[in-house]
């Protein structure tokens, strides 16, 4: 699975696609694959403040629950309602299935996130291949 070059990534396996002052956040294909069949997404509320590196929600598969860590600091402007009834969309296309949209307080934060290439190396190390 290719990791989009225009996204940035966290070591906790979230991605963010930034467009100006807003960003869409989801989990990576590696994350969905590790979790297996996703059955539940706990999204933040619109208007909630999120902080870089802090938990903003969770995803649950049949097997496990996994916290979601915000890649950036900001305010939630929208959540993907579709995932409430169809959380399995994350399994079928993780990089198109955004969980929340955030208005960034400090767009320069993005610079500290991993590039697609670095993320690819990071997960290769993590899986030992």
């Amino acid at each position: 699975m290719a990791y989009p070059a225009n996204y940035r990534y966290t070591r906790e396996h979230e991605w963010i696609e930034v467009d100006g002052k807003t960003g869409k956040v989801g989990i990576t294909d590696y994350a969905q694959n590790s979790l297996g069949d996703i059955v539940f997404v706990e999204s933040p509320k619109v208007g909630a403040a999120v902080k870089k590196g802090e938990v903003f929600g969770s995803v649950e598969s049949v097997k496990a629950v996994s916290d979601l860590y915000s890649p950036v600091t900001g305010t939630v402007t929208e959540v993907n309602e579709e995932l409430a009834s169809a959380p399995e969309k994350i399994n079928s296309d993780a990089h198109a299935s955004w969980i929340m949209k955030v208005e960034l307080s400090d767009p320069s934060e993005v610079e500290s996130l991993l590039s697609a290439e670095d993320y690819g190396k990071y997960i290769a190390e993590e899986t030992g291949h």
Binding site: G36, V39, S61, K63, E126
Partner: protein
């Protein structure tokens, strides 16, 4: 989550096959085992509606032979093995003197002097040593054949039709929890048992554990089940299937700190058969008014998934118990759990709360098993 295999992990003869098929592997009780292939939910549904194939070679096989084999088994296991006929199997358990679990087992009667006890993977060495020591005073020989067999479980409403293509034995003549010997995939004298751990009809077969034979049979079963949509299944589906059927898992519903009454397995415990390891302590539990806590089925009513180890609370917010196993139930499409609660909370429809991370989520006591397979139309 890590899929990295360490050299210390043990492997079944099908390990390379699982990896070639793209299974996700996990460390299960020291074994490098497939947790899922195509996906847990799809595998679970295949077993409920068609057929699934599991590699359960990590299970242990202990044989007791000799004139006092039955006496030894009666001493070590809580069910009454004297009721077994040749060709019959029985769910049972081995207990510590305090009435708690060494492990749950299936006892197969091969002949009056020859029994096979199938034990769990995570407790293999402990179980073998326990049986060996406990059987010492009896005239019988205890052998560990665990590594000699690849054990495959073919499970689901289409299991019989699938396996029937590969054997000369008329499978309709094997009743549930009975077994026969016959040729399977050209292998003579193969043990075919109508047993399983999924709540479905199905079979477990025991074939030689060399890699070539194991691979060949694995592939022949998959081919035979193709028309029924057979899927290879991992331990993930095995766990959700057994949970829907409310079957115990060692370390969860049964353990060395849980007694037979608490686990609700007293129907498999025959105190009247005479003394056995653990029977004295269990009588004392009965004489002192029974167990204080019980395993119950819970269905989560509000939004949230109860998981292993989560606390169970009453309305006042006091913790009263713990979830032994909890998961979304893929077939039932509910969030279910088996939990230990004080007996006063064990009545059907009783409402309790499960702490799901930071939230208190309402659940109610429901009958178990959560899932019961439909009666066969004859």
């Amino acid at each position: 989550m890590s899929s990295t295999a360490t050299p210390a992990l043990r492997k079944t003869a099908l390990n390379a096959v699982h990896r070639q098929m793209g299974a996700k592997m996990v460390d299960f009780g020291g074994w490098d085992m497939p947790v899922e292939y195509s996906g847990l939910i799809a595998e679970h549904m295949a077993v409920r509606t068609g057929v699934g194939l599991f590699d359960v070679s990590h299970m242990g096989d202990i044989q007791l032979r000799g004139p006092e084999s039955l006496n030894a088994i009666q001493h070590i296991c809580m069910n009454d093995a004297s009721k077994l006929q040749v060709g019959q199997a029985q769910y049972s358990a081995m207990l510590y003197p305090q009435g708690t679990f060494v492990d749950d087992v299936i006892v197969h009667k091969f002949s009056d002097n020859d029994y096979l006890i199938v034990i769990n993977a995570g407790t293999r060495e402990k179980d073998y040593n326990w049986i060996k020591t406990s059987a010492q005073k009896f005239h019988c020989h205890v052998s560990d054949y665990s590594d000699y067999y690849t054990q495959l479980a073919i499970q689901g409403p289409k299991a019989a039709e699938t396996l029937q293509k590969l054997t000369s034995v008329d499978l309709s003549t094997i009743k549930f929890y009975w077994f026969k010997w016959g040729t399977v995939c050209g292998l003579p004298n193969t043990l075919i048992a109508r047993t399983g751990y999924t709540g479905e009809d199905g079979f477990e077969i025991y074939i030689p554990s060399d890699e070539a034979t194991s691979k060949r049979v694995w592939e022949e079963v998959l081919e035979a089940g193709k028309e029924f949509g057979i899927l290879p299944c991992g331990l993930g589906a095995r766990n959700t299937l057994r949970l829907e059927a409310a079957l115990s898992l060692y370390g969860h519903e049964i353990s060395e700190t849980i007694n037979v009454f608490e686990a609700g397995l007293d129907r498999f415990c025959k105190l009247e058969k005479g003394p056995f390891i653990g029977s004295e302590a269990l009588r004392q539990v009965l004489n002192s008014g029974g167990p204080e806590r019980k395993l119950v089925g819970l269905e989560v009513i509000e939004r949230g998934i109860a998981r292993d180890g989560y606390g169970v609370f009453n309305e006042a917010g006091t913790q009263i118990g713990v979830v032994a196993s909890g998961s979304p139930a893929p077939f039932l499409k509910k969030n279910i759990a088996l939990a230990f609660v004080p007996c006063e909370y064990a009545a059907l429809d009783k409402e309790v709360f499960v702490q799901v991370r930071s939230a208190m989520v309402k659940a109610k006591v429901v009958p178990t098993p959560f899932y019961r397979r439909p009666k066969k139309q004859q």
